[in-house]
Amino acid sequence: MKSYCFLLLLIAASIVHGQDTVQYNIFHSPSNIRLFADDLFCKHDYLRSVDEYENYLKMVNSDTVKIKIGYSYLYMEKSKEAGLKLKPEIDNPVLEHAALKGYCRSLFMDENYCELKNVNDKYGLTFPAVAKLNAFAGLMPDMELSKDKTDFMKNFGNDEYGSISGFYEKASNPRYASPLKAALLSAVIPGAGKIYAGQTSDGIISAAITGLFAFLAYDNFHASHKFRAWLFTGIGSFFYSSTVYGSAAQAVIHNAEVDYKFTIELKSFLAGVNYFMGKDPEFCK
């Protein structure tokens, strides 16, 4: 009797084991899709992980998976798509408020600083990282920077004071050049506008060439060589107007360069301090 019972138990256990094995090998079952998607995510194959997470969501509703989709987009630098996925979850506390942090990061990447400010007004007090990112947004070109340095620096600790203070100084006093001033300077002294806009050698060459053709034109008029005189006048005028226009253009380029360098410096600093989730989330470790 005992043996029969054991036999029945064994058959039942084997059937269950068999079913388990079959289920485990159905690679498109929800649990397996999620496992596979996590593996793709951790191997930085974000495009495919999004597809797999989306397939999973068709069968099972999961906030964590929605956030993971958002992060996949974030790591692919598709900030708009990331924002769309993360925004509905910002009040969700899963993965240590990853949705809120990721959403702020997407807004920063997307340069949507106004929305970032709105989020900061709501969550800034509870989440210092959000307040810091919002303060950083204020440093970006074309943004209104707080005139009170103490008020600005209150978001940061003593360890960051030196570098952040440096960024604040640069943002509040950017070394811009005025295009109008550059053009006027070159109109009076050819090449002076270029020197003012930071292109010293270009300015000196412009001055020399314009001066040379002016002299050649004058000398040929004086010697009654009409054809060559008008030729040199034409070339000289071309160089002169090019220098005036070029000086204004150089000032615009200089300003864009100042903004670009500052933005790059600021973003690399931000990447270094890593206020938010890094490249490898906890579930990948």
Partner: protein
């Protein structure tokens, strides 16, 4: 005793059955991924091969799935990924035959991604390996490397070594014959402005070059004759020299563009009409 034996037998049979079903699932997954690949749906095929690898705990498909992944990435022109997966497949090759196939595939991808030094080095190493049996076709792949490197003369030389490769040799010789000499175009324009443009068939540009150079040359010389040396030097420096150098550079650019058209046409022909093995 009989009962115990029966129980043991049943246990083994059921366990075996479960294992077989697991293997069947993997085989089905492999077939599905291959089907996607055959249909040219390489993106989804890559996903399914990766899924197969993820669930293949015993690494039964490690070689074949990685080699297929390499092939899919190659078809999608993701050559760096292709080389990565082909190398994984190479490390997991079950035998010498498969190892040779993988090494050849890596060479082909290196040719396609224009990593010519790597391709030539790998051809050389495989040729030296007497057990591989690759020596016979080494020059064939060298020839293809030179084709992609735009050295059609060297490619023709490689293909001339075997009778079976004469079709390729003929294409290479013809292409090389039709190509323009960049040095010749430049030299012609140095000695007679505009003639390099005429040589490459850009007649309008040639006429313009002749005109501008003649005009500024005339004004410069005229100034010198009239003892206006400074005027002459300035005209020559700022106008004649500018148009003269521009004319030489232009001739070079035209010759290079023409050559690009000719080589693209030849490569296009090879891609669509040549039936032999190609990268």
């Amino acid at each position: 005793m009989k009962k115990d034996t029966a129980i043991l037998l049943l246990f083994i049979v059921l366990l075996g059955k479960a294992e077989t079903r697991a293997q069947d699932e993997l085989a089905r997954q492999y077939e599905y991924a291959c089907l996607l690949m055959q249909k040219g749906n390489y993106y989804d095929a890559v996903t399914e091969f990766k899924r197969l690898l993820f669930f293949d705990m015993r690494n039964k498909y490690k070689f074949v799935a990685n080699s297929r992944l390499g092939e899919c990435y190659k078809q999608g022109a993701k050559y760096a990924d292709a080389v990565f997966y082909l190398n994984v497949a190479l490390q997991n090759s079950p035998g010498n035959k498969e190892r040779l196939i993988m090494k050849k595939e890596i060479i082909k991808v290196n040719i396609l991604r224009r990593s010519f030094d790597n391709a030539l080095q790998q051809i050389y190493e495989l040729e030296k390996d007497t057990t591989s049996g690759f020596a016979e076709e080494a020059d064939y792949w060298r020839g293809w490397t030179y084709i992609f490197e735009d050295d059609w003369e060297k490619a023709a030389e490689c293909f001339s070594k075997k009778q079976d490769w004469q079709e390729l040799k003929k294409i290479c010789v013809e292409t090389d014959k039709h190509k323009y000499s960049v040095t010749m175009a430049k030299l012609l324009s140095v000695f007679l402005p505009g003639s390099g443009q005429f040589y490459t068939g850009n007649y309008m540009s040639g006429i313009m070059s002749v005109g501008w150079n003649f005009l500024w040359g005339y004004i410069s010389v005229n100034s010198l004759i009239e003892n206006r040396v400074f005027d002459g030097l300035m005209t020559a420096n700022f106008l004649l020299l500018r148009f003269y150098l521009g004319n030489v550079q232009n001739a070079e650019k035209f010759a290079e563009n023409r050559n690009l058209e000719i080589t693209n046409k030849a490569l296009n022909y090879l891609q669509n009409n040549f039936n032999g093995e190609k990268p």
